[in-house]
Symmetry: C2
Subunit: 209 residues, 2 copies
């Protein structure tokens, strides 16, 4: 019923709907916004260029599998970071989340997924062969922090990795589960509370760094 | 804190945030999605091209002020539509809404806004000089349906247009206000109910077409 539009506008609205979370209404609103004024058209052109440039130039770091324009990403190349620590996360977003926390200065390994045999996602699909290879060659790594999500798949992946990593004689840790800071017990789900009780720690005792 | 990213990726995330309703988190999610797999990168390239093509080629119809690739849009050029009817709407989205209703076969005039003197939007900004000119020259138009929104600015704009159009000896109508179809009185706001009572109609009597 959009036949009252020009073909290019229809095509733009259709293409915008490929984006996650953008339905027909939002796509229409975005398209109208981007064509509304000369200033907005400049934004459209800028966005067009940014998309094309990024899609052309950005690949994956050959070491950590995070997004990168170069073969090895800046973070992996950063000599000021502690090479004895390797944190394994599910997605590039998790890298940002941890970087934002400011509590970590080591390196990362990005799985870009989690084990899910039913969806055909095995160890190779999440780069675990690459990880094993790196552990064989790089003797610098002393601790592997498994920071996959505390979901069923995340836990299964964490278990698989811990088994995979065992032979390499490195310390294996898992990010702590518990009640989030600022979280009131009343509003925290019961499974989290049960886990927080199970993993209770002695006061003033922490895992050694 | 996004310094763990490549410059092109950061730029893409920043540019996506110019879109209405897209914040830092959504922009990041969209960017990651568009770069995730070769298939998604194809979408990114396609979207890039669609944006650029649309922003370059799409302008406004010189007659109805709707989006168009040509000087006069397809809808204005469509000889099968009734040239005696002209419906005045605020935005291109309103054109779609009315077209979807299937209840109208005339032409449109798109204000692309509403009178709002405090924001510097006067009659010229919403194309009323163009409308007056068309009415002077085109004797075909017999009825003008004012379909601006039932808001304060929309009503003010409707009043202004009705005053402007009076000298041209055409029938002036306004889309009806009332309780929406499927709307239950219990959940309809009180102003709408008051208006629906004020504009009550005799059973089996409608405005003549």
């Amino acid at each position: 019923m959009n036949s009252c539009f020009s073909p290019l506008l229809e095509h733009l609205i259709k293409t915008l709907q490929y984006l996650p979370g953008i339905g027909p209404k939002s796509a229409q609103r975005l398209a109208f916004y981007l064509l509304d004024t000369p200033k907005n058209k400049t934004i459209a052109q800028e966005l067009s260029k940014a998309l094309s440039d990024a899609a052309t130039a950005i690949h994956y770091c050959k070491k950590c599998r995070n997004f990168s324009e170069t073969d090895i990403c800046d973070l992996c190349n950063n000599k000021s970071r502690e090479s004895r620590l390797l944190c394994i996360v599910e997605t590039p977003s998790d890298v940002i989340a941890i970087e934002k926390s400011g509590g970590y200065r080591g390196h990362y390994f990005v799985l870009r997924g989690r084990l899910s045999p039913l969806d055909g996602i095995g160890p190779e699909e999440i780069g675990l062969n690459l990880l094993a290879e790196q552990l064989k060659n790089a003797s610098e790594i002393q601790e592997i922090i498994i920071a996959t999500n505390h979901t069923v798949e995340g836990e299964a992946t964490a278990y698989y990795i811990s088994e995979l990593v065992k032979p390499f004689n490195v310390k294996i840790t898992r990010i702590a589960r518990g009640v989030p800071l600022g979280g009131e017990l009343e509003y925290v789900d019961s499974r989290t509370i049960a886990e927080a009780l199970n993993h209770r720690v002695n006061v003033d005792v922490r895992i050694e760094d």
